[in-house]
Amino acid sequence: MTVDLFVPCFIDQLYPRTAFNVIKLLEKAGVGVNYNPEQTCCGQPAFNSGYWKETKTLAKKFIDDFPNDRPIVSPSASCTGFIKNYYPDLFKKDDSSFSGYQRLHRNLFEMTDFLVNQLKFTDFGASFPHKVCYHDACSALREYGIRQEPRLLLSKVKGLELVEMEETETCCGFGGTFSAKFTAISTAMTEQKIENALKTGAEYIISTESSCLMNLEVYISKNNIPLKPIHIADILASGW
């Protein structure tokens, strides 16, 4: 099986290691990975800010960048969930892009969903001897609908101890441009998320979303907090 890899702009620009790890994981699971280096962004940042025209430009490009009718795997439930649930708002049913959207809709998968529910490949032989907690990103949990998949994958990692934190399902305060427009509210939310994570005694906070992780990281680094944000792909690719 060959899949197309969709690397969200966050990962492309800030965390390229994570994308390389996704390739490593998919290949270990026996899947060929194709990557189109022309891809950029699904348009979600513009859409969530109300800029539908700008979103449409990016969405059209996105559809063209993924012309194949085969699985598209991405280490982000936020971007995949957005495309599945909101592209139809942008294109009328008779729009030429609509059939492209339908193709994407049936092919798009968030990585943990794809590994667990499609490939049924859960044990990578990874080891990560640390205490960790898992942040249920809003988009993963409510927009896309994954809760057990990441936990199942983490349960197979040697040495890893997962501790659930209080309010794990509460937003970390990112919300895209929200965190720049309403800095005080955003920071208060991030602060409480970090407090809950610290209470577990975890060294790492894991998520399926690089956007949440970035938001946590900028707070952590500014305030010198002994906690490390890390993408689930980076954990699963550890120790082998």
Partner: protein, 455 residues
């Protein structure tokens, strides 16, 4: 930036730093959360109940005109007088003339957010009529000279100590009195007022079209007393409160209670059909029902946001909203706060002045997941944002988003500069994320570029 937005930003900065506020709200909401979590267990199929409720309210909204006319016809037949009010001015003028005609000097009120919307108390007091809130939470905020903090739990921002202090200050009750004592104290005071009041004012949880009655739900019995002691009963209700049939209450009443407080059903649920009839022993002599628009038809005419008219004001979306929990009810500077408030306030009070509320949300989706009538609240906020941009948007963000879409619409534009240069550019926009966060660091090379170099 609008003035209201500036106020919102500065108020939110202050309140999020107030840890006493954070902890009081956290504590009070956690009590509700625990009760609601238990309450919903009683449903063998909560999802189905929500779908049905959404359908019933949807029917009512889709045929709003017909059901309202049916309601008017039936309640008029029951002896009530229906008054249509386009806006708060018309409502206030109608109320004033009723009060004058009936020579009212004391008016008792049961809890009603619709009356808050039209600043009822302020207007009525100006013409010399004493108004008294009789719901305990409302009584507390009225005593403190405040507005309701939450649509269901008006005094949610106060701890029991705050309330004991307030009563001590106003009535010289013993310092640190417990809630039982204070409740009994208020009860005694109110009894006297109920007996002497000339007019009782209530809202309506439902306007029941087929029987021409109002459905009133409450926990303290003060609503029933407001309706039964005074000679005149005035109802003030938004037009969206109409439901087709009495039969719908069997689903809606319990669902409203469960989502709001975790109760199986509220303690008192009354269906009031008109004033006292000749053969009846008690009840008011006159009943006036004011049907208020006040911006609701703006919602009705919008694309998709009309769904917000399904709201039964259970308050659940406020309780689960991380923004509400951090900034509290007052920061919204509007009658309706929380997710539902952010959706409807721009339609009620002006798009330009209130569209910032639609942006003050991380689109976490908790509200949508919770709403008993399945209003897609967070999606509605995204539609409000689109409207805000179409109506002119914000200068800086307009430029920023244009640049964003230009850069990201071609890979070579995106990779023209390396990570170091991008970081320098970012650092020029100092403090974009506030003083307590640093700026993110762009990698030396994008994944795309690095991947290409490895092929």
């Amino acid at each position: 930036m609008s003035k209201t937005k500036n106020i919102f930003i500065s108020d939110s900065e202050k309140i999020v730093a107030d840890l006493k506020h954070r902890n009081t709200i956290k504590f009070n909401i956690s009590k509700y959360d625990a009760a609601v979590e238990k309450g919903v267990q009683r449903y063998s199929n909560l999802e189905l109940a929500r779908e049905r409720a959404s359908f019933i309210k949807g029917q009512a909204i889709n045929h709003l005109y017909e059901y309202l006319i049916e309601f008017e016809k039936n309640s008029t037949r029951n002896g009530a007088q229906v008054i249509w009010c386009r806006d708060s001015n018309e409502a206030i003028e109608s109320v004033k003339s009723i009060l004058v005609q009936n020579q009212a000097s004391l008016l008792v009120k049961s809890k009603s957010m619709t009356t808050e919307e039209i600043d009822f108390n302020e207007h009525v007091e100006k013409i010399g009529v004493e108004t008294l809130e009789t719901d305990l939470g409302e009584y507390i905020v009225q005593l403190a000279g405040e507005k309701p903090y939450h649509i269901l739990t008006p005094a949610m921002h106060k701890s029991r100590h705050d309330i004991a202090d307030l009563f001590h200050e106003k009535f010289n009750t013993p310092p640190g009195s417990d809630p039982q004592f204070l409740t009994a104290y208020v009860r005694k005071k109110l009894r006297q007022k109920f007996r002497t009041a000339d007019v009782g004012v209530t809202g309506a949880n439902f306007l029941v079209a087929d029987v021409g009655g109002i459905g009133l739900t409450e926990n303290e019995g003060n609503g029933l007393m407001t309706v039964s002691f005074p000679k005149v009963h005035i109802v003030i209700a938004g037009i969206e409160k109409v439901i087709p049939s009495m039969k719908d209450l069997g689903l809606l009443w319990p669902l409203l209670a469960t989502r709001g407080t975790g109760q199986q059903i509220s303690v008192y649920n009354s269906l009031i059909t008109g004033p006292r009839k000749e053969n009846e022993a008690d009840g008011p002599e006159k009943m006036f029902i004011l049907l208020l628009d006040n911006g609701r038809t703006n919602l009705y005419q919008s694309d998709d946001r009309y769904e917000a008219l399904k709201c039964i004001r259970c308050g659940a979306c406020l309780n689960v909203c991380p923004i509400y929990k951090n900034i509290g009810g007052y920061t919204y500077n509007a009658t309706y706060s929380g997710p539902i408030g952010s959706v409807i306030t721009p339609f009620f009070k002006g798009e330009k002045e209130y569209n910032h509320l639609s942006f003050a949300c991380t689109v976490c989706g908790k509200c949508t997941e919770t709403c008993p009538v399945k209003i897609p609240l967070h999606n509605q906020l995204l539609l409000n944002r689109r409207d805000a941009v179409e109506n002119g948007g914000d200068f800086v963000w307009n430029k920023g988003m244009k640049a964003f879409s230009y850069t990201f619409s071609e890979r070579k534009r995106l990779d023209r500069f390396n990570g170091k240069m991008k970081n320098t550019a970012l650092s020029l926009a100092k403090n974009t994320l506030g003083k307590r966060k640093s700026l993110p660091k762009v990698a030396a090379q994008s994944f795309s570029k690095e991947w290409k170099s490895k092929q």
